[in-house]
């Protein structure tokens, strides 16, 4: 039996139970104890499971193979609904800015064709090209984690553009401080893009409202939040303290 196949069997076994005995795996794979041990070491190094005395156990942060897909797909549905609503605000002929980020990318399938898009999202640009949308990318340093273009170069090339509308993602929305993003460099790009746009929209699903960690604030209250249902108390709270308009899809 090939190594990838054994690894798959081991990981599959951990999808149903939260832990497996080494002996079970020996029988399941018709391999020796030594071989399974080596496999477990490899899989542990790849952070796919945790070795425990007598066998292996699922990882805490990564029990997502069954449930994370589920959760993220639920979250994705929510994101997609909001994104579709946001895309509906774009008119043919518009020149718009799309911020990097996983929520914004969901807008792309719903965008009209005859528009011009400027973005700082590396992966956004690829998707836009697939849809035959006229696409401009700003320059800058490519941030490894998010594939967003940021830094001095980003600001330089951004300031040559003007937008009818811009659509921004955020890491969190704070009832007192406004929109928050942990990376100051990214925040500066957002801020500039908003100031270059006639209308600014923040697209955020409800999970963003519970975020607590932040360090830098995109402090422009002239934008409109697009989100899904929010309980009226929260909504009122945000509006009164920050003057943010909240629109629900």
């Amino acid at each position: 039996m090939l190594e990838p196949e054994r690894h798959q069997i081991i990981l599959d076994a951990l999808k149903t139970k939260s832990s497996v005995k080494l002996q079970e795996l020996v029988e399941l794979t018709n391999s020796s104890e030594s071989t399974i041990r080596r496999d477990l070491i490899q899989l542990e190094q790849g952070k796919l499971l945790k070795r425990v005395h007598g066998g292996a156990a699922r990882l805490q942060g990564k029990l997502q193979e069954p449930s994370m897909t589920e959760k993220s797909s639920k979250n994705l549905q929510s994101k997609r609904r909001i994104a579709q609503y946001a895309a509906g605000l774009v008119s043919e002929g518009d020149c718009i800015y799309l911020d990097a980020g996983s929520t914004i990318v969901e807008m792309i399938p719903f965008l009209p064709d005859n528009i011009v898009v400027v973005t700082n999202g590396l992966s956004h640009a690829s998707e836009l090209l697939e849809k035959n949308i006229k696409t401009f990318l700003i320059g800058g340093f490519a941030k490894p984690t998010t594939k967003a273009l940021i830094g001095r170069g980003a600001l330089d090339s951004l300031e040559h553009y003007r937008f009818d509308k811009c659509f921004m993602g955020v890491n969190g929305i704070h009832s007192q401080f406004g929109y928050t993003t942990p990376d100051p460099e990214e925040a500066m790009v957002k801020q500039l893009a908003i100031s270059l746009s006639s209308e600014a929209y923040v697209v955020a699903d409800e999970s963003k409202f519970s975020e607590v960690a932040f360090s830098k604030i995109t402090d422009l209250h002239q934008a409109t939040i697009i989100t899904n249902e929010l309980d009226p108390d929260t909504k009122e709270q945000y509006h009164s303290k920050t003057n943010i308009k909240v629109v629900t899809s």
Copy 2:
């Protein structure tokens, strides 16, 4: 049995299982072990599967989604050899420019880690990020066919950089006119990048020498061509008429 047929059998086998033993493939195709090994090497280079000890496995990153078009592996081999040689010219600590294009992208796996890369290739940037290389993208209009960034915005952001070395692709090399690229907008970007670089290299496989269609010339003879073996006559012809240095890998 013909090569394409074998390749299809191998790929089909991986559609049902997540891995196949080499011996199974030997029986399925009535070919020798050596032949299957060679097939697997080719298919792995075409990024259609992953070789593992004892056989081959599906690669899960891309479930047969993208360009299933197996690159003509003959031309690819040639490109890759030249690209590897070119990558060898890059020293740790260098700041280099990588032009968009299919030949240049093959350099990326061979580049050292501790360098800074500036590029106008959308797909290049993604690959560079995978390798954890510090990457800057210039801005500009994203050309749909090649995913290259061109135009006014590209020139604007490009001119803020300076490079130790730049590596350019071309569509053709003409014995009288020099390097040729059909798109004037793209040619301007190339030209500027070359002028911003201490050393300029043109990386081109032999197929580029037979190209005839061109419209705009990147008319800078200060670059060095990196290519594979060329018959001495051609080599001399190019050198005498264009003053282009030709280096073979």
